[in-house]
């Protein structure tokens, strides 16, 4: 029976905790899992941060499953060995500047980067050779067996591989020395850990797309597995892994997830569900299922309110009629509901006058109430968001009454792990997005539904290294780093700047005039489930509130206190995780901030008079949060203690290693952390 690696596209996430990690959730909207130091999975995550308030990395476990769901591990008596190879890379600095939809070949070959004259990042490096050096390419790493580990740092690079690491000194931020680590757990499964959220560069950060000279430790790349059986036969499998920024609200799901994107591509281009779509057409006789196809959407709309003020959306979960009722009597209700969902632009059609440029239906701002994939520049405008084609089709079938309502609907032919991993990433809008971007809407980057096409296979770059300027959307498969190369560099720039967007809603051909959004504008969101905006405070103790300076239950800006790009680069891990405090009672979620590092933020209540000069105005005050320039206040822990602990441990554990070697216990690979 055919064996495959699952998830087909895994999602690890950055964290700045040098030693701790948890494991990726297996379902969309699920909490991650605790893990022991070897990556063996435990209970749902207790805390997202370590004892020092640093965000733990999210590891992605990869399993070998046969079609019927049975797992193959080292415990299987027929297995002689399982060897994993992963090649992570970061190509951001070598790619083009992020230019919204320019360069997106879904708009046709004339929209290529070259034809649109989109400039490169770091344009001073002009030769192919110099541009290749901008790539962070540590080369592939392999490991096999149980409880092994290896890092993507220089010291572990395969002999002879033309590795490429960025400069080891930077003016701002922290230099990148590794892209992460690989581990194997007790059964020989692979765990991929990404970078530490470091970013560094020499020029001030100025835009959401990032700046020249910057690098971060995001990455992606292929995952290979060779299973060798006792009879000497072997099998070669592959998958992909993407390293994203932390998911600060893991239980809140985007309206259109990356799984929805992959499903849509699979349905429309790979014949994934022929009953839905075949011969270039959706099947109007397809019978949708409420629980499988519609309810998740309703649920996502309902949870959005915990990370953004989208009052208009709450009507769409108010159950003013029975959403599961497919009767004709209910049809008018369903159709009215559906009519508030914005229609889609015609794919690849650059003309301005299209449904996604329209904000209101009657006097109601249509859904989803997010920015579209380009509400920023005046080229290839897509002001507001619409569901993807397949989502929209299924919702229209529901509106028509072509659906049933029961819990036993046949699942679609996609492994649940494959849906679960990317189900926690942003699928729309893509500007560029959080984890990956619009290249994932392009069938050219896939080998099959939910499977990324791989250009060369294991060790394919051993003598050449990676190519800096090749556009994989032209076909031929992806290289390590291709999925994330379009994203902001560093990621913090986009994360910090892009949660809301004032979008002009009156002139379809224009987003901006004189460098600013053309008025009148509407306040639309980008990706609050990943990068929250309006959140409830959650400190319920006297001490907690003394530190946060706020009562519990007050709606506040999520990033309050982080007031610049550079502060985001340094202090992103101080942000809260938004968590359901009442998760045991399904149906009554209560999401608040948790684990915010209040200590680093200072607080002042500023009288309005301080700005206006009129003392009368001081009766109204504004709360101001900021990071104290004088770190004295924060540093209760002495540097000396930190240094001492480091030195003591290095010494002690080195002694242990030597001692254990003497005892003959096997220990290969390198230590998990450096």
């Amino acid at each position: 029976m055919a064996l495959r690696i699952h998830p087909s596209v895994g999602v690890a996430r950055l964290g700045n905790s040098p030693e701790q990690f948890y494991l990726a959730p297996e379902k969309t909207g699920q909490l991650p899992f605790e893990a022991d130091p070897f990556g063996n999975q435990g209970e749902p995550v207790h805390q997202f941060k370590d004892y020092a308030g640093r965000v733990r990395r999210q590891g992605q476990a990869f399993k070998l499953l046969s079609e019927d769901g049975t797992e193959l591990t080292l415990d299987n008596p027929n297995v002689q060995s399982i060897q994993w190879t992963v090649h992570l890379a970061n190509k951001k600095a070598a790619w083009y500047q992020y230019s919204e939809l320019q360069g997106n070949l879904l708009y046709g070959p004339q929209n290529s980067y070259q034809q649109q004259k989109v400039p490169f990042r770091n344009p001073d490096q002009t030769t192919e050779q110099d541009r290749q050096k901008l790539i962070i390419d540590p080369g592939p790493r392999s490991l096999s067996g149980r409880r092994q580990s290896i890092g993507f740092d220089k010291d572990n690079a395969p002999q002879g591989y033309p590795v490429s690491y960025p400069p080891s000194t930077v003016t701002y931020g922290t230099a990148i020395t590794t892209l992460g680590d690989l581990l194997t757990d007790d059964l020989g499964r692979l765990i991929v850990l990404g970078g530490y959220g470091n970013a560094g560069g020499d020029e001030p950060l100025t835009s959401y797309g990032g700046s020249n000279t910057w690098h971060d430790d995001i990455s992606d790349g292929p995952v290979y597995c060779t299973v060798t059986y006792q009879d000497g036969s072997s099998e070669q499998l592959s998958a992909w892994v993407v390293v994203g920024s932390p998911d600060f609200a893991p239980e809140i799901v985007n309206i259109s997830t990356l799984s929805d994107t992959m499903f849509d591509v699979g349905v429309r281009f790979y014949n994934l569900v022929p009953e839905i779509y075949s011969n270039g057409q959706f099947n109007p006789d397809f019978w949708a299922n409420y629980q499988r196809d519609i309810e998740p959407l309703v649920e996502r709309l309902s949870r959005y309110q915990w990370v953004a003020n989208v009052q208009a959306m709450s009507a769409f979960n108010s159950r003013q009629f029975d959403y599961a009722d497919n009767s004709d009597a209910n049809k008018a209700n369903r159709q009215q509901y559906f009519s508030y969902f914005r229609g889609l632009n015609k794919e690849g059609d650059p003309s301005a006058d299209q449904p996604q440029q329209v904000l209101f239906k009657d006097n109601f701002p249509m859904l989803p109430l997010n920015s579209g994939s380009n509400s920023v520049s005046n080229e290839l405008i897509m002001k507001f968001l619409a569901l993807n084609e397949t989502q929209q089709f299924l919702l229209s079938q529901w509106a028509e009454g072509r659906f049933d309502s029961h819990h036993e609907a046949a699942p679609y032919p996609v492994n649940p792990l494959d849906q679960g991993s990317v189900g926690n990433c942003v699928g729309l809008p893509m500007c560029p997005g959080i984890e990956v971007t619009w290249s994932m809407q392009n069938p050219a980057v896939y080998a099959a539904p939910y499977r990324i096409a791989d250009e060369k296979g294991p060790n394919g770059y051993n003598s050449t290294g990676l190519t800096p300027s090749r556009d994989e959307c032209e076909g031929g498969g992806c290289q390590p780093g291709d999925l994330t190369k379009r994203m902001a560099c560093p990621w913090q720039a986009d994360f910090f700047q892009c949660t809301v967007q004032p979008v002009n809603f009156t002139v379809p051909e224009v987003n901006k005039a004189n460098g600013a959004p053309l008025p009148p504008t509407y306040y639309a969101y980008w990706w609050p489930p990943q990068s929250p905006w309006d959140v409830l405070t959650g400190e319920t103790t006297v001490e907690g509130q003394a530190a946060s300076h706020l009562p519990a239950g007050q709606q506040m800006n999520y990033a309050r206190g982080i007031n610049s790009f550079v502060q985001m680069v340094e202090h992103w891990s101080a942000l809260a995780f938004i968590r359901d405090n009442n998760s045991q009672a399904a149906g009554y979620p209560y999401f608040t901030e948790t684990e915010r590092n209040n200590e680093i933020f200072s607080y002042k209540e500023v009288g309005v008079g301080a700005i206006t000069g009129n003392p009368d105005d001081n009766e109204t005050t504004i709360p101001v949060f900021y990071i104290e320039a004088d770190t004295q206040q924060v540093k209760a822990k002495s540097d000396r203690a930190v240094q001492m602990v480091k030195a003591l441990e290095q010494r002690a554990f080195k002694a242990i290693e030597v001692a254990s070697g003497g005892l003959g216990t096997p220990r290969s690979g390198t230590r998990m952390r450096r």
Binding site: V542, R640, A652, A659, L663
Partner: protein
């Protein structure tokens, strides 16, 4: 199941002054292999800084000179005022000490220098390590966990308990501990940047509910601690900043001293400061030292001195036991030495009890307040 193992002669639990000095003593006077385990990452600020200058004799025994420590490590005591028994200022040692000379320690420098000496002399200290202790064959087996390392085991012939006042290890192993009171300290750190020269360095002030202790620390910090019984502390809710501040405002002298300082602690910290005595003489190959053996009221300033003396005595005992274990003829001598050690502790604690009674009887102003009433009988 564990891949990593350490075998050692002596394992010491707790890297406070007692544990580290016991290790130093063992390393200096024997060739025994020593491992010290510490649960913390040393980030907690260390409190307790007032010591008699007999400390130097003990350091001398450990072959440590004053010059081995940074210059600012020992400060002479001045500006040391007590309001105890009356509202008139007195110098502290006039009431609380039979010794004349005492010093103020920079605890971080002091403790960290000891730790550096420990590594220099070949000892091993492993921070951030938690362990469960059991006995296997005639050895101690410690199953250890660490935030970055795989679980590992330590096997040791001898275990020294220097884990401080909680004495949970002693009780877990079947020893006994006797608590005289439920004293606790609730304190806050302040920053005193604008401090003027020659200002008040230290202050003790008794109140109806207990007593305040304020002390200047290195790095332009100041610590104020309120000592009282745990039930009183919890009734007054002194773990909460506004209640603690409120009580501070009711003090006569301390409040004036700290009025220009900025509070650094977000909420008050609480530390156990109970007087207690532990007896583990029935346990083989085990000794308790420092606060884990006898813990004294901070008013006595005896804690650190005792931590060091008991450490040195215990080390001597451990050396003789381990070196003589091969020689069964000496078994009775060993037992006797152990009994002598325990007896010494007992005598020491008994005389401390008298001293303590004397201290508290000097304060007669609130005889009906529970805190003072409890301390009159002794």
């Amino acid at each position: 199941m564990s891949d990593l193992n350490i075998k050692t002669d002596v394992v010491i639990i707790g890297a406070g002054p007692a544990g580290v000095c016991a290790a130093l003593s063992l390393l200096t006077y024997s060739s025994l292999h020593v491992v010290v385990l510490e649960q913390s990452d040393f980030s907690q600020v260390r409190v307790g800084e007032h010591v008699s200058d007999s400390l130097f004799a003990l350091l001398d025994y450990l072959k440590l000179q004053k010059s081995d420590f940074p210059a600012h490590c020992f400060l002479p005591c001045y500006g040391d005022t007590t309001y105890w028994g009356s509202d008139l200022p007195r110098v502290r040692h006039a009431i609380f000490s039979s010794e004349n000379a005492s010093v103020q320690l920079d605890r971080e420098s002091f403790d960290f220098t000891l730790i550096e000496q420990l590594t220099a002399r070949g000892g091993t200290l492993i921070p951030r390590t938690h362990c469960t202790v059991s006995q296997q064959d005639s050895e101690w087996l410690l199953q250890c966990t660490h935030p970055t390392q795989a679980p590992f085991e330590i096997r040791a012939r001898y275990l020294i308990d220097a884990s401080g006042r909680n004495s949970s290890l002693c009780r877990q192993l079947g020893g006994q501990s006797h608590k005289l009171d439920q004293l606790m300290g609730a304190g806050c750190f302040f920053s005193c940047k604008e401090q003027t020269e020659g200002a008040q360095e230290q202050l003790i002030e008794s109140t109806e509910y207990g007593w305040w202790y304020g002390a200047r620390l290195p790095n332009q910090q100041y610590v104020a601690t309120f000592f009282s019984d745990s039930d009183i502390i919890s009734k007054l809710r002194l773990n909460q900043r506004q209640h603690w501040q409120h009580l501070l405002q009711q003090s006569q002298h301390l409040k004036r001293l700290v009025k220009d300082y900025t509070t650094l602690s977000v909420h008050p910290w609480l530390r156990n400061a109970a007087s207690q005595y532990s007896d583990a003489s029935t346990l083989r190959n085990y000794l308790a030292i420092g606060d884990a053996a006898c813990a004294f009221d901070p008013i006595s300033s005896m804690g650190l001195g005792f931590a060091l003396t008991s450490a040195c005595h215990a080390a001597r005992l451990v050396i003789s036991e381990l070196e003589q274990q091969q020689n069964l003829m000496q078994a009775t001598a060993v037992t006797q030495a152990r009994q002598l050690y325990q007896q010494d502790l007992h005598t020491h604690f008994a005389s401390y009890q008298q001293l303590r009674r004397h201290f508290y009887q000097t304060e007669q102003r609130w005889l009906h307040a529970p805190f003072w009433q409890r301390r009159q009988a002794g």
